[in-house]
């Protein structure tokens, strides 16, 4: 069930250039289990900024009723969020959407997790759940530069982890796709989240394979009511059939919707 709750800040830490890790406590954590879902965050009580911000759930800690988000403080909303201190309240609506299907991989399988920038956070909870199920994970993480990199070590503790940075200051120089073409990684299932060009490249390179992609769209309601976040379906690319990223997604099977 979707809940709306003022959660309490447990901790907030800057973990890379403009990247913050925020842990919140709230009863709605009991509704969280699938990785790749998101919450819709109201950063202040007033009318400015007005809209909620969609942020993925990066880590679920059900026993403590806590969850963690990792986000880039860039625009006004996320900058205000970054000012929250332990004990402050944050208005959370969630969990929302449909996340990554963990059940599509079985114990003994290898799962390839590809993330770019702020697409990486939801892959962390996914990696935890997959490894807990006995699935081998290989993570390929892309950042702008070393100073913008985060969670490489956390992923490395769960499985083989490769990093790409655009300026080459950490790992392979270039995009995550450079890592993928330079190594032959064999996996039973691909899970990815990041910028559209990255997802498009993966969709092409993994054609016919089992792959799940998480999308971002500008949102209004976050729950399926406003039609802000639709995309065309692959079977009817010009027609009127559609999927909503907020309530049908954000994770779709590769080839299901037009990126």
């Amino acid at each position: 069930m979707i809940k709306n709750e003022i959660c309490t800040v447990v901790s907030q830490e800057q973990i890379a250039d403009s990247i913050f890790e925020l842990t919140l406590k709230g009863e709605l954590v009991s509704e969280m289990s699938q990785p790749g879902r998101f919450v819709h965050v109201k950063v202040t009580a007033g009318a400015e900024p007005l809209l909620r911000r969609p942020i993925s759930v990066a880590n679920i800690n059900p026993s403590e009723s806590q969850f963690t988000m990792i986000y880039r403080a860039e625009g006004r909303g996320t900058q205000l969020l970054a000012e929250k201190k332990p004990g402050d309240g944050v208005d959370i609506l969630g969990p929302l959407g449909n996340g990554f299907p963990v059940e599509e991989a079985e114990a003994g399988d290898t799962a390839l997790l590809v993330g770019g920038g702020i697409g990486i956070p939801p892959l962390y909870e996914l990696a935890k759940q997959l490894t807990a199920k006995g699935i081998k994970i290989i993570a390929v993480l892309g950042f702008q530069s070393a100073s913008a990199a985060f969670y490489e070590k956390e992923f490395a503790q769960l499985g083989e982890t490769y990093v790409a940075t655009i300026d080459g200051s950490l790992g392979t120089k270039g995009f995550v796709t450079n890592v993928l073409t330079s190594r032959s990684i064999l996996a039973d299932v691909l899970y990815a989240c990041g910028p559209i060009p990255m997802l498009k490249a993966l969709e092409t390179s993994h054609k016919g394979q089992k792959a799940f992609l998480s999308l971002e769209k500008r949102m209004g309601c976050g729950i399926g009511a406003c039609f802000a976040c639709v995309c065309h379906t692959a079977e009817d690319p010009e027609g009127h059939s559609y999927k909503k990223v907020c309530s049908d997604g954000p994770v779709f099977r590769a080839g299901e919707v037009i990126l």
Partner: protein, 313 residues
């Protein structure tokens, strides 16, 4: 004996608060949060004869205390709205106001004729003010003669009272209001969104794929208040007011301006429980302000300041 009961053409409302069209889909999503029977009415998403995908994305952009949208009247088309959405809504007693849209006169007439037959549709809202579609839409809402003619034609085919939704993007909204009243409108709903645009700092291009969009939310409330105030003194049909309402206080302000009921749009996205929260708060607020019934607030901005007494339900 409710303080909130309001009687409008076609609509016997247990309270005067309803979600605005396009901000509530067909109710399914919000029914996860509360019982839709609590609402005074529901204004469902615009319906056109054929299904529409609407505009490309991005379709929304945030602005100071507001947002722009250019959904482009996405909807599953008349047949599905009748067969799936309205039938689903029949489980609730809440009256439905069906928002009727189109590109041509024929579109409006077709939708109005059919949708007004649905048992739970108690009124139509004629959307002649959508700023986000290229043809039709807003043109009907800016030329008084066109607005009047369309109203007459829709009235001729509708089984239920017709409310006309006015555009704020006009020099003289009173003129348009009078024209649709003369065309036989049973009520007005106002305001639709203001035309606006936001540009991306990095690219210089509009954030919305449609370039322009409709501005809604708290930022437009003063514009809506002014227009409701001006129109309500010049027509004798009731007004359902909307534009930036977020709270019970805002509802009262719109009644003061001259509205007889109020719709809540954008605020649903911010707080999915905003409508029931407002409804819960209203009786106490009315009492604090010294009113026995919400209708006593109606038009207080321009009426002489006597204590109004209303036919209490």
């Amino acid at each position: 004996m409710s303080m909130l009961q309001v009687e409008l053409p076609g609509l016997s409302l247990k309270n005067p608060v309803m979600p605005a069209s396009g901000c509530f889909g067909f109710g399914r999503e919000y029914s996860q949060f509360y019982d839709l029977n609590r609402l005074g009415a529901i204004m469902i998403k615009a319906t056109t004869p054929e299904p529409r995908f609407g505009n490309p994305t991005p379709r929304v952009a945030e602005t100071p205390a507001g947002m722009l949208n250019a959904i482009g009247l996405q909807n599953p088309g008349l047949k599905k709205v009748l067969g799936e959405e309205l039938t689903w809504l029949e489980q609730f007693e809440t009256p439905i106001i069906a928002n009727v849209a189109g590109s041509t006169e024929t579109d409006y007439i077709e939708v109005a004729r059919e949708i007004s037959k649905a048992p739970n549709v108690h009124a139509l809202e004629l959307n002649i003010s959508c700023p986000n579609v290229k043809t039709g839409g807003i043109a009907f809402g800016t030329v008084p003669e066109m607005a009047k003619e369309l109203t007459m034609k829709v009235k001729a085919v509708s089984q239920v009272p017709v409310y006309v939704k006015l555009s704020p993007n006009v020099t003289n909204i009173v003129e348009v209001a009078k024209a649709v009243e003369a065309g036989g409108a049973d009520g007005l709903t106002m305001i639709n969104t203001l035309l606006g645009m936001r540009l991306d700092l990095k690219t210089g291009k509009p954030i919305l794929a449609n370039k322009t969009g409709g501005l809604s939310g708290p930022s437009i409330k003063p514009v809506a208040t002014r227009m409701i105030h001006d129109v309500s003194q010049q027509v004798s049909i009731p007004i359902i007011g909307m534009g930036g309402v977020q709270s019970a206080e805002d509802v009262i302000e719109f009644f003061y301006a001259g509205a007889s009921a109020v719709a809540v749009g954008t605020a649903n996205f911010v707080d999915p429980l905003v409508c029931p929260n407002i409804i819960d708060r209203l009786p106490a607020l009315l009492t604090e302000l010294g009113f026995g019934h919400i209708s006593e607030c109606m038009g207080r901005s321009w009426k002489a300041n006597e204590k109004l007494t209303y036919n209490r339900a």
